[in-house]
Amino acid sequence: MRCPDRKQLSAYVDQELTRSEMIIISEHIKDCLSCRREVAHLEKLISRLKLLAKEDLPIPAPIQRRQKTSFNWVAAVALVVIVIGSIMIIGNTYETVAVKTWPDKEIEYYYVDHRDYIRSQSAYANKLTSWE
């Protein structure tokens, strides 16, 4: 049998071929040194890539904080009351609250933006994601 296309070998290593293609190639490489070598090289490369896949890319603080901040329900209820109160009484917009809540400018932009979305979709002015 002729050697399979090298593209096929690459997909073979990933087990991304049909069952019959997988069987044909695995039979072929039993008798073909050059294809066996090709597969071994590919497997070594892929095993190194798997190590690289596990590396920890240190996440910068703002994203990390977003992950770690747990929702404080007591503060949430208190703030919702304040926000609704201020909307009803003073006619304040809750973006003002957001600005006060978020000292970090980047996050502030992000959350204001995402709350804008929520408000436009469902008019839930009281749904704040989290704060410290």
Partner: protein
């Protein structure tokens, strides 16, 4: 997609559409580090954080158009990849070395190597290999880098990569093959020195 996964996705999407706080927290918790890692690998570390934020905003905005014909995970990868690719197109005149500084590429691989009983020189060899691999991946053209990163690093299947990038399965197979060829040239070239 398994039934439990679809149910979990459905619940999450409903939560997000209702502006439910816990749903946002869950989305952040599940995906922000994956998105950040993907952005670093596709577009370099310099703008990765901004790109992730832009991707989150786009996710929220497109919530209403999510029809559940792919998993949330695929959808998140798709939006993040699109944001990174748009950014790379805007920066197309810049050499990859400007996106991925050598310092970053060569920085100490900060993780536990899986076999602690390795000899120090073997550990050093693996670290060296990984450093060279990072350089090789960074130097790939964007289309090839996207396929290799999504498949070989993020461990998506061919079908998932095809869905994320909106390309045919056969294209995934051939792009991945060419990407690996190039990476191997650099990787094995360095190893024989």
């Amino acid at each position: 997609m398994a039934l439990e996964e679809r149910l979990a996705d459905y619940t999450l999407v409903q939560g997000l559409r209702n502006g439910d706080n816990e749903a946002y927290d869950e989305l952040n918790q599940q995906y922000s580090s994956k998105m950040y890692r993907l952005a670093c690998r596709l577009a370099g570390p310099e703008e990765a954080e901004d790109l992730v934020q832009e991707a989150f905003v786009q996710i929220y905005r497109s919530m209403s158009s999510f029809r559940g014909d792919c998993s949330i995970s695929t959808w998140v990868y798709k939006i993040t990849t699109n944001v990174c690719q748009d950014y790379l197109r805007r920066k197309s005149r810049r050499n990859w070395r400007h996106l991925f500084s050598i310092d970053w590429l060569k920085s100490e691989i900060d993780k536990e190597l899986p076999s602690p009983d390795l000899e120090p020189h073997e550990m050093a060899e693996i670290r060296d290999d990984l450093g060279r691999l990072r350089v090789a991946i960074a130097s790939l053209p964007m289309e090839q880098r996207s396929v290799l990163v999504l498949h070989d690093l993020e461990q998506l299947t061919y079908q998932e990569v095809a869905d994320v990038l909106g390309i045919a399965l056969g294209t995934v197979k051939s792009r991945l093959f060419y990407a690996r060829q190039k990476v191997r040239q650099i990787f094995e070239g360095g190893a024989s020195k």
